[in-house]
């Protein structure tokens, strides 16, 4: 085929330009570390990257939700533990008070301490998380949920608690409402109100034991109060166990989420990130081809019959 001088020149030149474009692309990939930057370079890969990034953003949010959940459940658990301690101390003092050898004065002292413990229990029921939220207020947690009026305790919090999303379609209650914890003890051994149960122990301690008949009646009073306290302690530990179960669930979900995230990260990296070994050798290959094209251009262009016409 006859080849014209312009096409010889243009074809050699366009080879050089093509190799230059390939070198520029390989260089861009090596310096950015990703295989593609826009959907136009790899539509399928971009679709995958966008979906993976969404999943990872979601997981990051679930992870932060789990953190908040752990902190709040932890707060509730320590409040429940303190309440349990208070009740154990109440029980201990009640057993101690139920002794014939104690003087009225001694029993008065115990009653005073028990009253203090009851106040302490109320304080625990009104525990705040330090950020202005009352742990046992349900969804009305910006003011103290429990108040004492005329010796009886009233609850002004909400019976609802927030659920926190920890995964797609999965959520956990972030607490227990105050009425559930302190006012709804379902065993029949006393009032459903925990504070009333403590009060019954105080009442037993302050009862009149001057006559044998009164003493016998007081024994029954003590027995009831102790049974009610045991019921209360059991009720609290039941709730504590359910909090513990949720905390365990938080750990399980978190572990699973982290495992999943590692997988997502690996997939994302596989789809988007550059194989440096492969790219650098490609860069070298294109550089070499460019050099070859340049040198061929110079050689071919120097050939001319005019060089020989003198």
């Amino acid at each position: 085929m006859r080849i014209s001088t312009p096409s010889l020149f243009n074809n050699s030149l366009s080879n050089i330009l093509q190799q230059q474009a390939a070198v520029a692309k390989a260089q861009d990939q090596v310096s950015t570390g990703v295989k593609f930057k826009t959907a136009g370079e790899n539509p399928g890969g971009t679709a995958q990257v966008l979906a993976l990034e969404q999943a990872m953003a979601e997981h990051a949010q679930f992870g932060s939700n789990l953190g908040s959940l752990r902190q709040r459940l932890g707060g509730e658990e320590s409040a429940l533990a303190s309440a349990g301690d208070v009740l154990s101390r109440v029980r201990e003092l009640t057993v101690q008070a139920n002794s014939a050898t104690l003087s009225t004065e001694n029993r008065q002292q115990i009653a005073t301490e028990l009253t203090q413990l009851k106040t302490q229990l109320l304080d625990i029921a009104n525990t705040s998380d330090g950020l202005g939220h009352y742990v046992f207020g349900g969804t009305q947690d910006s003011s103290k949920p429990f108040a004492e009026t005329g010796g009886s305790i009233s609850y002004s919090g909400s019976q609802q608690v927030r659920e926190i999303t920890v995964g797609e379609g999965r959520s956990l209650a972030e607490g227990d409402s105050g009425d559930e914890v302190f006012l709804r003890i379902s065993d029949a051994s006393g009032s459903s109100d925990l504070f009333a149960r403590v009060q019954s122990a105080i009442d037993a301690t302050l009862a009149d034991v001057s006559t044998p008949a009164a003493r016998t009646a007081n024994q029954a009073q003590y027995a009831n109060a102790l049974a009610a306290l045991d019921g209360g302690i059991e009720h609290l530990s039941g709730i504590r166990a359910s909090v513990g179960t949720r905390l365990a669930a938080v750990d399980t979900v978190e572990t699973r989420l982290q495992g999943l995230d590692v997988q997502l990260q690996a997939t994302l990296s596989e789809v988007r990130d550059l194989d440096y070994a492969e790219s650098i050798s490609r860069l070298q290959l294109h550089s070499l081809s460019l050099q070859a094209a340049q040198s061929a251009f110079a050689k071919v262009q120097s050939l001319s019959l005019f060089n020989y016409i003198r």
Partner: protein
């Protein structure tokens, strides 16, 4: 002797012409579109009819332009295709980068918005969190507006480039007309360089717009645009012009004669610009607008299902985009159309053309022209409903009047955050439930769900009293039978009980009081991320946005691949053309030597004739 002298003279003349032409070829080695030329010469027979007759030398008939009309026309076609794809590719690449890049695309701000709602569910009463969520909502609205503005600026650049192309087309057509005139006048004596010049102009014209050509008997070339519109006939030139689009003011239509021909033009830069608008920019704007409409209307709807911290019902967070109906500038009736949205899950994003038949309406899809079925009459009580779009007409339309219904094309530019008050986020559910402390059963009420938000009694406190474990009454209403798992419904709400109720147990339902840190509605806002709101409930908002990004990318890739292929084809045709018409310097160098030698030889012939004559004179002098 006189013959030999004449023969030598003709040879000298022919060799000199050949040398001149070789020089001309060498001079034009770099001239775009130049076809190499050859001297067309033949032997001159002698005067007599005799076996002894010797020819009279050589005669130069003229110059021949070496070209192949078929290859030339293929090159014109290939050049037009490359120009089309180059114009398309440059616009597609910009749209692709815009939508893909994490700093300009929608994906990142969508993720952030949903993370914000999730954060709001964790900390509904924190003002800082609320403020942050509003910030995310605002940057989402801004991102939508920015994307719309950027895509629209590509769209208006298309108009600018179209009007540039129209003026270039007119210039080229005029120049071709003038050349036609000169070529027709010169007839068979037309210099080759004029033909080259015209080919070159035709090539340039085809890079602007797709054309077809025919050669007339007088040698002039007729040029027609791809729409069939004549551009050049002989030396008469029909100019193209621009006019406002029939429907969309500010957008250009190309006009030839009195007809709007934009929709029929293809090929060349003009074709590429129109293809990019039709297949990439418009669909991207429409799909972006669809995401904007669907997401904002859903967020607004969920806001209205919740209550604010002061206990009042939530209101719209974003301004709701509305569709646009453009009246044709040729309409004679007084009818106007308004566009709103119905079931957004059915939205396609497509534009429609609505045409009055005099007695009713006809609806077609604007891009494909296919007929679309609809329901309704168009009155305000019975709007035309098509694929989630509601069209209301007022005034009276004349037969043939038409509208372009553009539901979502510009919706992304209309989204605005309506409130900067952090309290305006409706995080709490509307109703709460509680169980009386004196209840003896183990039943606990679930959160009431709102079934009918418009029920006037919705927020009225209600008490559910169990008459026995298997029946209850609401307030002092009639007894209703109850079995475990039954939903208890009244006043537009409904709830379920977990556990077993006992006779005398009471549950109450009431409006969420002020100051609630309930997060049910915040979770509902966050849950929008997972709701399949689009494409007939098949895709989530994010999936729809990803589809937009991927679709644009796919189109861009297709165009880029096609462009590379078209360039290869054009290179091939160019090589073929150059093989025939291109100048080869080595060849010309050889010719230069050859004609130089021919010239020297011809000179020698004259010298010989002179010597022979001298010899004769010397002989007769004796």
């Amino acid at each position: 002797m006189a013959d030999l002298l004449n023969i030598g003279k003709s040879a000298l003349y022919a060799a000199q012409k050949s040398l001149d032409l070789t020089g001309h070829n060498i001079a034009n080695v770099g001239t775009e579109g130049y076809s190499r030329q050859r001297i067309d010469q033949s032997a001159l027979p002698g005067g007599s009819v005799s076996r002894l007759d010797v020819g009279a030398g050589v005669v130069v008939n003229g110059t021949t332009r070496l070209s192949d009309a078929l290859v030339e026309s293929r090159l014109v076609r290939d050049g037009a295709e490359v120009a089309r794809l180059t114009a398309f590719d440059s616009l597609a690449t910009r749209a692709d980068t815009l939508l893909s890049d994490s700093s300009t695309g929608l994906s990142g701000s969508l993720n952030q918005l949903f993370s914000g709602f999730e954060q709001l569910a964790v900390d509904p009463s924190s003002t800082a969190t609320r403020q942050a969520v509003l910030g995310q909502a605002e940057s989402f609205a801004n991102r939508l507006g920015d994307l719309h503005a950027q895509l629209s600026s590509i769209d208006s650049e298309i108009d600018q480039r179209l009007s540039q192309a129209v003026s270039t087309i007119n210039d080229l057509a005029s120049a071709i007309g003038q050349l036609n005139h000169r070529i027709a006048e010169a007839g068979s004596n037309t210099p080759a360089d004029l033909l080259d010049a015209r080919s070159q102009l035709v090539q340039q014209l085809s890079e602007q717009v797709g054309i077809s050509t025919t050669v007339q008997d007088d040698g002039s070339l007729n040029v027609f645009a791809s729409s069939g519109q004549p551009l050049v006939v002989g030396d008469r030139v029909s100019l193209l012009g621009t006019a406002d689009d029939l429907y969309r003011p500010g957008r250009l239509d190309i006009v030839g004669g009195s007809a709007r021909i934009s929709s029929q033009l293809s090929g060349g830069t003009v074709g590429g610009l129109l293809d990019a608008r039709r297949n990439l920019i418009d669909p991207a704007l429409e799909k972006l607008g669809r995401v904007a409409v669907t997401l904002t209307s859903r967020i607004n709807a969920v806001q209205a299902e919740g209550v604010l911290q002061d206990g009042s019902v939530g209101s719209a967070l974003f301004s709701a985009p509305s569709g646009v109906a453009f009246s044709a500038s040729t309409n004679t009736g007084s009818a106007t159309a308004a566009v709103s949205f119905g079931n957004t899950a059915q939205l396609t994003g497509d534009d429609y053309l609505l045409r009055s038949t005099g007695t009713g309406w006809q609806l077609t899809r604007a891009r494909s022209g296919e007929a679309v079925s609809f329901t309704g009459t168009g009155s305000s009580s019975d709007p035309l409903v098509v694929e989630g779009v509601r069209i209301t007409l007022s005034g009276s339309a004349a037969s043939g009047d038409s509208f372009r219904i553009s539901p979502t094309h510009d919706a992304a530019s209309q989204v605005q955050l309506l409130s900067s008050d952090p309290r305006s986020l409706a995080t709490a559910g509307r109703l709460g439930s509680s169980a009386a402390l004196a209840n003896t059963g183990s039943a606990k009420p679930g959160a009431p769900t709102v079934v009918d938000g418009s029920n006037a009694q919705l927020a009225t406190p209600a008490t559910i009293t169990f008459l026995s474990a298997s029946s209850y009454q609401i307030g002092s209403g009639p007894a209703v039978a109850f079995a475990a798992g039954d939903r208890i419904s009244a006043n537009g709400w409904s709830l379920t009980l977990a556990g077993v109720p006992q006779a005398g147990d009471q549950f109450s339902v009431s409006a969420t009081p002020p100051g609630s840190s309930d997060n049910r509605n915040a979770r509902a806002l966050a849950g929008i991320a997972q709701e399949k709101l689009l494409d007939g409930s098949r895709n989530t908002i994010s999936q729809a946005n990803n589809a937009l990004v991927t679709q644009t990318g796919t189109t861009t890739l297709q165009v880029r691949t096609a462009k590379a292929a078209a360039e290869a084809v054009r290179t091939q045709s160019q090589n073929e053309r150059d093989a025939v018409s291109g100048v080869n310097l080595d060849e010309e160098a050889a010719n230069l030597l050859r004609y130089q030698q021919a010239y020297q030889a011809a000179a020698q012939v004259i010298a010989t004739a002179s010597t022979v004559f001298d010899t004769l004179l010397a002989a007769t002098r004796r």
